[in-house]
Amino acid sequence: MRSSNRRTPGRVLAWVFLAVFLLATIFPFYWMIRTALTPAADLYNDSSSLLPHQPTLINFARVLGLTTEAEARAAGGSGAHLDFGRYLLNSVIYCGLIAGVQTLLCSMAGYAFARLRFPGRDLAFTLLVSALMVPPIFTLLPNFILVKQLGWINTMAGMVAPTILMTPFAVFFLRQFFLSLPREVEEAAILDGVGPWGMFWRVAMPMSRGPLITIGLTTTVWAWKDFLWPLLVGRGEEHRLVTVALGVFLQQSPNTQPDWTGLMAASTLSVLPVLLLLVFLGKRLVQSLSFTGGK
């Protein structure tokens, strides 16, 4: 490595390529924010300069529901009621519930499948893992009907139900991890008379912080991106997630054209939380990718 640290044309070219790629990755987000700061009326004459001529915060104000209907309409919206603050909060609750509960339950199961001996263990595990082969759309339709029959449409319960207890991948992944834990520690604990619960809580879990954070973070990110399921069961205002709200917002376009400045303001808000996640947990996230090997 060090020996090749010269400034050869190849290396310069490689850096240029990386820089261009990085720019192409980041710049659209800048454009999103730039549009969000543009008054809707200026959009036609001012959609190509690098900075808006007359930056405004009105678009953020109206997607957060801080303006009157008349003000929102004057600023290019359809006058529909918007409250992205609430949608963001809903999304945070949704992700927190799913990531927290699912990670805990799946690590318990993963541990049992890896370390405890009980009849039917291998059969149960094989069945669980076979669920990996079922694409989500297949269970989506019947699950929708199930949730409808349970009367859980437009409730947080209905939204989290299919994923809060388990995903096959999380069980599979955590079992793989628990299998790789050294047995010596446990054997010592057994001699001290620690039972399976104690073993799990006091021995296995503390040794598994890395994989647990990995699976928790990955689950959080995927839950944050969820769209189709919450669109079907959680369109109501009360529990509407930020992704669903963006879709509904697009659908509430005025007759003339999509409310671009408002949409970009709302989009910016939907990016902010993950941006914070990246800033504070970026290293964790980046490292976690080598753990999961996909998914």
Partner: protein, 447 residues
């Protein structure tokens, strides 16, 4: 269990309704109720909000919450919400789309309520009430009507030396386009300022298109091809309403689409593959186009007091079979599964009454279905200095109007026909083939 209780409640309610509960004013008003109401036109929201407010004043225990969803997603949204059992109590309905909800028993039959409360159906513009009736059942009360006209940018046409009088008696035919095409050609301007009749006209660099067609227009072509095709002798289906065999393979329709394609080829109309997220009225305002079709529900968008561009309306061109405009009336449907049937009917009755239609008419947003309120709307437009006589004249012209196709499978037919027409316009296949294919698929739905 939920469904059972719901069903029982609905049954009980309709029983009280059928057994002639005379004191309709306090029946079912056990407490404060919020009705969900859907519409798609953001321009009308304020007027119906005014209706809702008036309604709430008269019925303090009923609040109406209005949700607007853009036309492009309205029907898909509604079906999804119906499937989820979470649809609005009352929604705005359109003639071509409502039958599928009748088939799946989603719309409440309001005939019993109409009989009970003796709603006068003759107060509405002729024909509108029957659009929403089938086999003695009734699925909505007319709330408004609309016809089509040409709308043009007056400044732009003036700059090309076109006098408004020239637009009064346009002719059209699918082979050479008649005086309508001449007008469009003259209104088209390239970047060097030459119009479409100039021999050196450069069709690759257009500044203003003479005509803006609408292609996301479902199976009806209400905003364009439908009117011209019908004026060329085209009929949508064997029987309207409630036909079962469509005729989209009619060469007269294909000829109409071919004429539109020729406009695009000549540079008089923008190609579909470069279509914009901007709607036609935004493009007209931006000077990207000169003429297009406009429904009467668009009057306020075009003739707004604060509009920077001055528009005017003109009658549709006369085709081989005369001048034909689609006439359509919207209605309000009650969700068959609503928990507040009596309140929902009260709201629908209010929407269909002079009280609400006068509010809407007075705002000059649409032409209300009640004839008297319609006159009020016309007066309101006149007071605002808006000349909208053409829409009314067309509606009154004998044999000058046609209804949009009403049949089952509206959603699917819309998608199939729109796809067929778009593929013809995009040049993926010729019009006759594309329409034949679409028509076969459409008619297969009725087997």
């Amino acid at each position: 269990m939920n469904r059972i209780t719901l069903g029982a409640a609905a049954l009980a309610l309709s029983l009280t309704a059928l057994t002639g509960c005379t004191s309709s004013d306090d029946s079912g008003s056990g407490g404060a109720v919020t009705l969900e109401y859907w519409l798609w036109d953001d321009n009308q929201k304020a007027s119906y909000q005014a209706c809702a407010d008036a309604f709430h004043t008269a019925n303090p225990d009923i609040t109406v919450k209005i949700t607007q969803t853009a036309w492009a997603q309205y029907w898909q949204n509604l079906t999804t919400q119906l499937a989820a059992g979470d649809a609005p109590d009352v929604w705005t309905d359109q003639a071509s789309y409502y039958p599928q909800f009748v088939t799946s028993n989603q719309i409440l039959d309001i005939q019993p309520f109409v009989d009970r409360d003796k709603v006068d159906l003759s107060q509405y513009q002729a024909g509108l009430a029957d659009l929403y009736a089938k086999d003695g059942k009734r699925y909505g009360l007319p709330k408004d009507w609309d016809t089509m006209a040409l709308v043009y940018n007056t400044t732009q046409l003036k700059a090309q030396g076109i006098a408004p009088a020239e637009l009064e008696n346009l002719t059209w035919n699918p082979s050479d386009g008649g005086t309508f095409e001449q007008l469009i050609a003259k209104a088209t301007v390239d970047e060097k300022g030459r119009n479409g009749l100039d021999p050196s006209f450069d069709k690759s660099k257009i500044k203003t298109y003479g005509f803006l067609p609408e292609w996301a227009d479902g199976s009806q072509g209400q905003n364009g091809w439908g009117n011209l095709a019908v004026s060329n002798g085209f009929e949508f289906l064997d029987k309207n309403p409630w036909g079962t065999r469509y005729k989209y393979d009619d060469p007269k329709l294909a000829a109409t689409i071919d004429w539109f394609k020729s406009l695009i080829a000549k540079g008089y109309a923008p190609p579909l593959d470069k279509a914009s997220t901007l709607s036609r009225d935004a493009l007209l305002s931006a000077g990207k186009g000169a003429i297009t079709f406009a429904g009467s529900w668009m009057i306020n968008s075009y003739l707004a007091a604060d509009a920077k561009v001055k528009f005017a309306f003109a009658p549709l061109p006369t085709g081989p079979q005369g001048r034909k405009t689609a006439i359509n009336g919207l209605s309000d449907a009650i969700n068959a599964g609503t928990e507040h049937q009596e309140q929902a009917w009260k709201w629908v009755k209010f929407l269909g009454s002079a009280d609400c239609q006068n509010i809407v008419g007075g705002n000059g947003v649409v032409f209300p279905a009640i004839t008297a309120a319609g006159d009020k709307a016309l007066a309101a437009h006149k007071a605002k200095g808006q000349n909208v006589q053409v829409f009314v004249d067309e509606a009154k012209a004998p044999g000058g109007t046609f209804f949009l196709p009403v049949s089952e499978h509206g959603n699917e037919i819309s998608q199939l026909v729109q796809d067929g027409i778009q593929s013809a316009v995009l040049g993926q296949s010729d019009s006759a083939t594309a329409l034949k294919k679409a028509n076969d698929q459409v008619n297969a739905l009725f087997k």
